[in-house]
């Protein structure tokens, strides 16, 4: 699991590879909302990749989430990529990030 360390009050953005043009969306939930808050803040144009330096028309945009460190502690942010209308389908992709929030020195 990836670990990210923040100070209280820090704001951190994670960027997830989107599949919006195939109907997939990322969702993110936080285990302990007292420690951090996660918010979807939109999308960003995909960067040129090795196999598609100029993203084609059907390129999906990357999805951005903002994590705001609220209080000292640690919590896991769980991200899942699903088709929003397929409620019971397993996620196409998922990832978890451990956020360790320390008091600001």
């Amino acid at each position: 699991m990836t670990t990210v360390e923040l100070f209280v009050g820090d704001c951190h953005t994670i960027r997830l590879r989107g599949l919006g043009t195939a109907g997939f969306a990322w969702s993110a939930t936080v285990d302990d909302p007292q420690v951090a808050r996660v918010t979807s803040i939109g999308t960003a144009a995909p960067e040129p990749s090795p196999d598609s330096p100029a993203p084609g028309f059907s390129s999906s945009r990357d999805e951005l989430f903002e994590i705001l460190a609220l209080n000292a502690g640690q919590t896991v942010i769980r991200c899942a990529q699903t088709r929003p209308w397929q409620k019971n389908a397993p996620p196409h992709a998922s990832t978890e990030i451990l956020f360790v929030v320390r008091p600001r020195p």
């Binding site: 590879r17 598609s52 390129s59 992709a93």
Partner: protein, 705 residues
């Protein structure tokens, strides 16, 4: 993965390595190892790191990876100077063609063509695109109705096709609405598909358009494989593009069926079956449609179109996607998306969109998409002219039998081909030109043909293959090599006591599929012989079955469960179906009997009536000469599975009668049934059924009786 971390002091820090890891999923062919998680994170290079640079060569990327101490590398097969793979598939959004960026395509030459789809032809006449007086009869010199039956919509049962409105109906303007899912009483669009997690919508958009146009213009289901185009292009799952790239590839290579190469999301190396050339719908051309009116005219009088738009988040689940008309509410863009437009409704102010996200999205995969929403009317749309699809023999394998075949040759790819017995036991090849509709004699070959041959177009490069009984009571195989335009002797085979005409098909066992033959032998039984096609092997006796068989016939058909059906004539004058139970030991079993006083061999096909979609078995259509006339029978394969006689008709030539039905097919002429029959004077006569009425056409050629 655990990254060493340092504390960010900035208020917003973007995880740039996460971007690279995200992209690594796209680069499975480039990097090793490839299986990285679709998301990663690092805090060492916020917002404007080296990974944001434009990377153009393999060397640049190699240096960057080294600097970053990455554990994965650029594949050694790429030299430093090699440009990174770049597939010109539409480019970025600013480079996608806009309707205002190019000259307007003149669609008048396309919509003024004489389509063989009678429903569309009627629309073009009504719209004034086609002059009524320029429409020739189905047969030059006119025709004579010889029998009529009540017209029925396609629906679930057989009978006759719904007839288009009579030519010369009042001129009307643009249709208020068009819906190709069900139009003119027929379904035209295949079942909904799902691109899965690949960004391959641009392929689905183009292939879906070709698939629909093939159905509309040739009146046959022809499921095509998006994987054939996607993998044939050499792109991997997450490579993006535009429909024009897929259309261009299909122009060069055609598009095969899923059995040849399926659509999958696993980036397998492209390896279609060896007989791909015989199972591709070929595409002559496609056109861009630059104005909204042209696009509507195209939908109304030609067929569905390929289109693209900008996707916003609410397109995923908005209730208006499912229930009403989608209008953009979200301001969060997700990228570009390509789909097929299969209709429009001016009352709703919307296009009818066929998505490629499966049946659980929208309204069973479709939605009404508001005009102009998300730039859908700013980007160029594409259509396939009606004469530019050439379906393959594999697509058509069930809709013809006997000595008659609608080939891909000639204008509009719809020549009729007929083979018959000639003097000195030779075989004559006749054809009807798809443009002039005139019959002509082609080549003559062979010297031991004893009775009417049966022909197949096979996946061996679209070759014609014929089998007939010889004068020495064997079977003889010939094939016409399309690459050399020469008939080749395939050899004599089969039982040593053939007493009947052979039934012959190419089955789906193997690729190319095996050849299967059923013929009556002297002991009044049926003998099944087969030949492996990959590799080509010797003919082998399969089984002997049945009893009291008087006549074998051109009636062999492979069912969807891979079993075989064949109809023969019993010694008591009835017709009887035999079927092979492939799921239980490939045992032949006796089926139902029907008909009376039958003393000539019938011809049977599986048509499109009753096949509400491409997966369903259509009705069987059977024609047989009885008492000098032709009886048309059909079997409701989706319903009662019983045989019914639909019509009786005969020749209009004075003083002669119908001796035997030699060939039957369901043609691209609006699902018409076409028959070639032997007359008592040795002539060959063409009959056809259109809109519920059987017509007697011209007499051409002759057969040595």
């Amino acid at each position: 993965m655990r990254e060493s971390s340092s504390f960010f002091r900035c208020s917003k820090a973007e995880s740039s390595l996460g971007i690279l890891f995200g992209k690594s999923v796209r680069a499975e062919t480039l990097y090793s190892p490839a299986s990285l998680v679709p998301m990663g994170i690092s805090q060492r290079n916020p917002c404007k790191g080296v990974f944001m640079e434009k990377i153009r060569t393999a060397g640049q990327l190699r240096r960057i990876l080294k600097e970053e101490h990455a554990t994965w590398t650029v594949n050694p097969r790429f030299k430093d100077d090699d440009p990174l793979p770049y597939y010109k598939m539409g480019g970025d959004l600013s480079q996608v063609p806009k309707i205002s960026s190019g000259p307007r395509t003149d669609i008048s030459k396309h919509v003024s063509r004489l389509t063989t789809n009678p429903f569309l032809l009627q629309r073009r006449i009504e719209r004034g695109f086609v002059k009524r007086e320029s429409v020739p009869g189905h047969i030059p010199g006119g025709s004579q109705p010889v029998a009529s039956i009540p017209a029925r919509p396609m629906g679930t049962s057989g009978g006759a096709a719904a007839a288009p409105a009579p030519v010369g109906a009042p001129v009307v303007g643009t249709s208020i609405s068009v819906d190709w899912r069900n139009r003119f009483g027929w379904p035209w669009i295949t079942n909904m598909k799902d691109q899965g997690s690949c960004e391959s919508c641009w392929v689905f958009s183009a292939v879906g358009t070709v698939e629909a146009q093939t159905r509309i213009e040739h009146c046959i289901w022809s499921l095509r494989s998006e994987g054939d185009v996607h993998d044939g292009l050499g792109v991997v799952c997450l490579q993006t593009g535009g429909p024009a790239t897929a259309f261009d590839w299909m122009k060069a290579h055609g598009v095969a069926d899923p059995g040849c190469w399926p659509y999958e999301q696993s980036n397998l190396p492209y390896a279609p079956t060896a007989d791909r050339s015989g199972r591709t719908v070929r595409l002559d051309d496609y056109v861009s449609l630059n104005t909204i009116q042209d696009q509507k005219d195209w939908l109304d009088t030609v067929g569905p179109i390929s289109a693209c738009f900008d996707v916003y988040q609410d397109f995923w689940w908005g209730t208006d996607v499912t229930n009403t008309v989608y209008t953009q509410q979200s301001n969060v863009p997700e990228g570009g998306h390509c789909i097929v437009i299969v209709g429009y409704d001016d009352n709703l102010g919307a296009w009818l969109m066929r998505n490629s996200w499966g049946t659980t999205w929208g309204n069973a995969g479709y939605c009404w998409f508001g005009y102009g929403q998300c730039n859908i009317d700013a980007y160029t749309k594409y259509g396939v002219p009606n004469t530019d699809c050439n379906p393959d023999p594999w697509t058509k394998r069930r809709i013809h039998n006997g000595n008659l075949y609608e080939s891909g040759d000639g204008a509009g790819h719809r020549n009729f081909e007929v083979w018959s017995v000639a003097p000195s036991h030779a075989i004559r090849h006749y054809y009807r030109d798809g443009a002039s509709l005139n019959w002509a004699l082609a080549e003559t070959f062979g010297n031991d043909c004893h009775a009417s041959p049966t022909v197949q177009g096979t996946t061996f490069n679209r070759n014609f293959e014929i089998i007939y009984p010889t004068t020495n009571h064997r079977l003889h195989h010939w094939y016409f090599d399309q690459s050399t335009a020469v008939w080749n002797d395939g050899g004599v085979f089969g039982p040593h006591h053939v007493h009947g005409i052979p039934a012959f098909i190419q089955s789906d066992y193997g690729a190319p599929g095996n050849f299967e033959v059923v013929v009556r032998t002297k002991d009044s039984k049926l003998a099944h012989w087969w030949r492996s096609s990959n590799p080509v092997g010797p003919w082998t006796e399969g089984a002997v079955f049945g009893h009291d068989v008087e006549l074998s016939a051109h009636t062999l058909i492979q069912r969807r469960d891979r079993g075989l059906d064949v109809v023969c004539v019993t010694e008591h004058g009835a017709m009887q179906r035999y079927w092979r139970d492939d799921a239980h030991g490939m045992v032949w079993k006796a089926g139902e009997k029907f008909g009376r006083h039958v003393k000539t061999p019938p011809v049977m096909i599986e048509g499109q009536f009753g096949a509400a979609n491409e997966t369903l078995q259509g009705n069987y259509e059977l024609c047989v000469a009885v008492h000098g006339s032709i009886e048309h029978w059909w079997r409701d394969n989706q319903g009662t599975q019983t045989w019914q006689m639909s019509a009786t008709f005969g020749t209009n030539v004075p003083g002669v009668h119908v001796e035997q039905v030699l060939g039957l097919l369901e043609s691209s002429y609006g699902f018409d049934l076409e028959v070639v029959a032997l007359l008592s004077n040795g002539g060959l006569q063409h009959f056809w059924r259109s809109g519920g009425t059987w017509h007697a056409g011209p007499v051409f050629g002759s057969v040595v009786i």
